[in-house]
Amino acid sequence: MRPSRAQPLSDAPLSRPSAGGTLAVAAGGAAGSLARVAVVAPAAAALGVPAAAATLVVNVVGCVVIGMVSGPRRGAPAWLATGVLGGFTTFSGWVLDVGRLLPHAPAAALLLLLATPSLCIGGCLLGQRVRG
């Protein structure tokens, strides 16, 4: 087991990522965003599921998966964690959904406001537990 060590801060310059690594993170972000906007959202609309519920499912699924792939010491590879899952999940979408629901359905807005962080954090913990 490696000894735990505090994060090194600010002394060394930020290391420049490789071109391949950068491309992989960008491609992951493109794929994650496309899956959310062009696959899950239209599928939910076709099934009659409200857009806000689709965003909630997207965020919870992304949080379960990041829990499953992130180890306690080393995080998941950047193309997956930062790229695919970061592009798939959305904080600004949650904020917009709460704002859109608020005038017409305040109870649903409050439910979404509370359910998203609870289920996302719970989902992440569950994912970590599944990973063991």
């Binding site: 993170v25 493109a30 496309l34 992130s70 917009l96």
Partner: protein, 122 residues
């Protein structure tokens, strides 16, 4: 534009916006972590929410709105935020929990502020 062409254009726009947003988030969070600045993902989620609120209120044509919101969605993240929250819970860190909760509250306020600013100015 024909339907297929429009859908293809939108899909490409979403991919480009998602990629650019993801690289922006990657860069900002690398600097935040490197310097040991407090706040974590709030540094991307709060500005993305401010912009998303403004875009949603601006009432642009659909392709522009979809692309701009995809950029905001690419910049913001819930998965890394959930990891930060999980870590704060496991370490029983009050400060970590405050940062996560504060970031969420600020993000919600930023979204309302972005929309409000656009509605006031238009």
């Amino acid at each position: 534009m024909s339907g297929v062409l429009l859908l293809t254009t939108l899909a490409v726009a979403v991919m480009v916006a998602g990629a650019v947003g993801t690289l922006l988030r990657w860069g900002v969070l690398a600097v935040v972590r490197h310097r040991g600045v407090r706040g974590g993902t709030a540094w991307v989620n709060v500005p993305a929410s401010l912009a998303a609120g403004a875009v949603a209120a601006a009432g642009w044509a659909e392709p522009a709105t979809v692309a701009a919101l995809a950029l905001c969605g690419g910049v913001s993240t819930y998965s890394s935020l959930a990891l930060e929250a999980a870590r704060a819970l496991q370490e029983r860190s009050r400060e970590g929990a405050a940062v996560v909760g504060g970031g969420m509250a600020l993000g919600l306020l930023a979204g309302a502020a972005g929309a409000g600013a656009v509605l006031l100015l238009s």
